[in-house]
């Protein structure tokens, strides 16, 4: 069991809630939890958080631990790569469970052993049970078989096969040909079968994490977001988790300097980014902030600029301003960045002069005018230039939506305040990402305004003209994100618009199986 990944989080989440989250007391029939798993909303759920895990959970829609355990087993590479009749074992299992494929058990005598997995041999334990029943293996012999399967030892398998056939002859439940066929099947299964005891314990933990996510989503996400930094690509992880929060209507807010929280924190039902979650703001900056003797709650705009930001590294200061840490001053971020640049032009003595008289100044212009009264003739020209820049900025200091969206995406991993698409004219749009995921929209004429986040171009293998380009596209808006596919004909027409970061309106259609979205048209906005 990977403690860091799983148990720690539960412990942290369980601290302040009056609920016993011990596995033995868990309600294993919670409809909310099973529904959430069945919707594929399993980001952050143990063993099911990958995109494949989410897709398979949606397809299988497990409703008990046995099925969840099977789901975790068929998600492994062995099952996915083991093909039979042109379909992999994972899909055989899913189709059988969903009644799309007939369940057979090879031989009637195996029915009770294979019934729980719809006739598929998913677990190593099933091979052991079959060996016990058909070939009269004792537990020790069966364990040798399990080892041979688990360790994939060919020489040991050959020995066990002989013992299996001999045993089957003595037991007389199946004839020799059938015994050989069954053993052949066991042999093939060694490529993919999984240890059931592992699978069940994984399933229990997967269910527990899903249960917490379903019932205490805010707490779940706060803890999980705090582990994002341990991932290979922390910003991508934050992006996926925050998108998931939005889909579940959980508010996520920009970092707020007043909270002075190092990591993600839950406050007033909203998850706030921590200061160290901003790119370029590390532990050392946070420690430095701790040493600055100032009451952050009451600090004025000028105090923050001259006493706090001027004493930490420039990149960290600029990044904190850029992501809206100081939005509570109701000053545009670009204006604050501009003011910060202005004060970096002052000398140390000039800054000290301002700090000494800071209570008497209402704005930065007054500060510079104050400095101007104290400087010598040589310095006067420079300070006048600074004042001139301040009074006549060369460019607009208003925050535009694309600038905020891009800056937050780069420094936080996701744009929290807005989406680039928010500034576009979207009169003809009739849904958003969250509504689509909740299936609140009709399946035809879906018009959605989005920003393109990822385009994965592949070549078709089947169809009339294999080798044509098509793409999987990840799109986003301020309510969440969505995966869609665009097929060759449409891809050829619209590929010029499918660039990462571009904003567009898309006409989507639900796939026939209703398990995905198909892009039919794209317009530049």
């Amino acid at each position: 069991m990977n403690k860091r990944r799983c148990a720690c989080k539960f412990e942290k989440v369980g601290k302040k809630i009056d609920l016993d989250l011990r596995l033995e007391n868990l309600d294993l029939n919670c409809k909310t939890t099973w529904d959430m798993i069945g919707e594929g909303n399993t980001k952050g759920c143990f063993q099911l958080e990958s995109r494949l895990g989410q897709t398979m959970a949606k397809k299988l829609k497990p409703t008990n631990i046995e099925q969840l355990s099977a789901l975790i087993s068929i998600l492994r590479p062995g099952c996915l790569e083991a093909y039979r009749d042109g379909k992999n074992v994972s899909n055989h299992y899913i189709d059988k469970k969903n009644g799309l494929e007939t369940v057979d058990h090879y031989h009637d005598s195996l029915k009770d052993i294979l019934a729980t997995t719809y006739g598929e041999m998913i677990y190593q334990e099933q091979a052991m049970q079959i060996a016990q029943k058909i070939a009269g293996f004792n537990l020790q012999d069966a364990d040798v078989l399990r080892k041979a399967i688990g360790k994939k030892k060919a020489d040991l398998m050959a020995e066990v096969k002989k013992q299996f056939i001999d045993g089957a002859k003595q037991e007389c439940i199946v004839n020799v040909e059938e015994a050989e066929e069954i053993f052949g099947w066991i042999e093939k299964s060694q490529r993919y079968s999984f240890n059931k005891s592992h699978a069940i314990s994984y399933a229990m933990n997967a269910y527990l994490s899903a249960y917490v996510k379903a019932h205490f989503p805010s707490r779940f996400f706060v803890s999980y977001l705090n582990f994002a930094k341990d991932k290979i690509d922390p910003l991508k992880e934050i992006y996926e988790l925050v998108s998931n929060c939005r889909e579940m209507a959980i508010d996520v807010c920009n970092p707020n300097f007043k909270l002075l929280n190092k990591n993600f924190v839950l406050k007033d039902k909203c998850i706030y980014f921590g200061l160290t979650n901003i790119k370029g703001v590390g532990e050392s900056v946070f420690k430095k902030l701790d040493t600055i003797k100032i009451d952050i709650e009451k600090a004025s705009y000028l105090q923050i600029l001259f006493i706090v930001l001027d004493n930490i590294n420039k990149t960290a200061s600029k990044n904190m301003i850029s992501v809206g840490c100081f939005d509570y001053f109701k000053v545009n971020r670009k204006q604050m960045l501009f003011d910060f640049d202005i004060i970096t032009n002052l000398t140390k003595k000039e800054k000290e002069f301002v700090i000494m008289n800071i209570a008497g100044y209402e704005n930065i212009t007054q500060c510079i005018e104050g400095v101007l009264t104290k400087v010598n003739a040589r310095r006067r020209n420079s300070v006048e230039s600074i004042l001139n820049s301040l009074k006549n900025p060369a460019y607009s200091l208003s925050d535009t939506i694309p600038w905020i969206a891009d800056t937050e995406s780069q420094l936080l991993g996701i744009s929290v305040s807005c989406s680039k698409i928010d500034e576009c004219d979207l009169n003809f749009v009739n849904t958003d990402c969250r509504s689509l995921k909740d299936s609140k929209s009709s399946s035809k004429n879906i018009m959605i305004g989005i920003e393109i986040k990822d385009v994965n171009i592949i070549k078709t293998k089947r169809g009339a003209n294999p080798g044509q380009e098509m793409a999987f596209v990840k799109v986003t808006d301020s309510t969440g994100s969505l995966d869609a596919v665009i097929f060759p004909e449409e891809f050829k027409t619209f590929k010029n618009l499918l660039s990462i970061d571009n904003t567009a309106v898309m006409k989507l259609e639900q796939s026939k199986k209703k398990d995905g979205m198909i892009i039919k048209k794209v317009w530049q906005v």
Partner: protein, 239 residues
């Protein structure tokens, strides 16, 4: 393919030699490469005190560092004021260092950033664009960049713009209009006149960059339209 924003910029200067003159005005606008339009609120316009005036003392209209040069007269003529007023205004302009710093701050706001992108660098910087920038404006950019530490020593050019991509609109216009017999000159004034662009306030840097940006957008739209129709892939294969 990522598309960096395009910064159309222009200097007005106190001389004609880009290796020696000082800028007195710097203007810029940003073009969105997706929407093919000038980005809202992206206008930049600043004056810079010429270096000659920063160093000189006791400057008057009878005693100024431009000597016999007619540069003050030229600016006066363009603006419709006398040269004494031009000199007086230039003396009041903010120091070059502070104005340049504002331009750097402005460009930083238009880097190609977003999720999954690498941190800000010269490769995320806007693409430089302007009229005759290769022979004139970029030389000034490189000089000021070197002076104020925005210089890439390895590449031997400024690090404030994208190091590879650069659009000199005069080349673009020149190529497209090469076979148009009535075009006798490809100066911005001639092109403005040929294309029917109002020439009021011409040689004001902000007016020039806005005109240039609009010309660029026309060409980019044309380019986009054509490139979607022309079969470039394997076009040499059967030759």
């Amino acid at each position: 393919m990522n598309k960096n924003k395009i910064c159309v910029f222009d200097f007005e200067t106190d001389g004609v030699n880009p290796n020696e003159c000082s800028p007195v005005q710097l203007a810029a606008v940003m073009v969105d490469p997706y929407r093919l339009e000038i980005i809202k609120d992206s206008e930049f316009n600043i004056n810079l005190k010429p270096e000659k005036l920063e160093k000189a003392k006791g400057v008057t209209i009878d005693n100024h560092p431009y000597g016999d040069s007619d540069i003050l007269d030229w600016h006066g003529k363009v603006r419709g004021v006398d040269k004494a007023q031009i000199l007086d205004e230039w003396l009041q302009y903010p120091e070059q260092k502070h104005s340049w710093q504002q331009f750097i701050g402005y460009l930083e706001n238009y880097h190609l950033v977003g999720s999954g992108k690498s941190k800000k660098s010269k490769f995320t910087a806007p693409i430089a664009c302007g009229y005759n920038i290769n022979r004139f404006d970029m030389k000034i950019v490189d000089r000021l960049s070197e002076k104020y530490d925005n210089f890439d020593i390895k590449e031997k050019n400024s690090s404030i713009f994208h190091p590879r991509d650069r659009i000199d609109l005069m080349y673009v216009v020149g190529l497209w209009l090469m076979y148009v017999p009535e075009i006798k000159s490809i100066s911005l004034d001639s092109i403005r006149s040929y294309m029917g662009i109002n020439s009021d306030n011409a040689h004001d840097a902000l007016k020039d960059v806005t005109d240039c940006a609009n010309i660029l957008i026309r060409f980019l739209k044309l380019h986009k339209n054509l490139s979607q129709r022309i079969q470039f892939k394997n076009c040499f294969k059967d030759e």
